[in-house]
Symmetry: C2
Subunit: 121 residues, 2 copies
Amino acid sequence: MPGSATIARLRRELARGTTELAVLSVLNVRRRYGYELMKVLRDAGEGVLEVKEGTLYPLLHRLEDSGHIVATWEAEGRSRPRKYYVITEDGRAYLAMLREEWSGLVDAMRQLLNTLGEVHE
Amino acid sequence: MPGSATIARLRRELARGTTELAVLSVLNVRRRYGYELMKVLRDAGEGVLEVKEGTLYPLLHRLEDSGHIVATWEAEGRSRPRKYYVITEDGRAYLAMLREEWSGLVDAMRQLLNTLGEVHE
DNA sequence: CCCGATACCTTGTCGCGCAAGGTATCGGGT
DNA sequence: ACCCGATACCTTGCGCGACAAGGTATCGGG
């Protein structure tokens, strides 16, 4: 059945870029560690925003390299240390920009779909 | 200024996959030729949905190959022939699926952004 | 006569998402 | 005693859409 494979592909392409927005939005509330972020995003929105490990960890490293977030290792009282991420001032500004871009896209698409929504002819 | 380059990059990543939805939505109303589609999308939504030639033409070919649209050359009474595209029954079904995926993503993001929207701590 | 618009096309590069692999610890079940 | 799933981090290689940059050809206006 090619349908399910197609679905997965287009879902991936549609969600592209939104991961960054989703991650920064969650970190904007409070600090989180990587594995925790995965669970938060999986539980939100019926799995639509689910992020795989191979996506999340490189993304976090990119955000850290560009100064949008900072990481601190913490292991006090437990083994299996966790790497906590905190959003920076720079990151908040970037997040605001991202949200604007996103709502701009959503508005444009909504307008297009509403205008042309009715099946003609 | 790295900001404008960054903006272009994230706008491109965010819009990824929506082009297919936009093109099929326009074709769902009536047939269009490639160059015309470019103008329609550029004029809609303040340029947010603008598509470049290097994106549109390969996309149309992919949609044709998978049977979602069909093309017919037309040049009657004029030189510079145009290649008109018409959506198929199969294409309409695919479009419906795409729209569902898109609204699912938008809903999930809206929920996430509303829940976490307020800046805490 | 040249240049911009019209109208189609292609090749190569960039960068994200992911599959698939890896390491290591911990706790519960049998 | 042993195994396995969950926790928690990481990497390499591939697929694929968007685009920059190039190409071809015609038409009309300044």
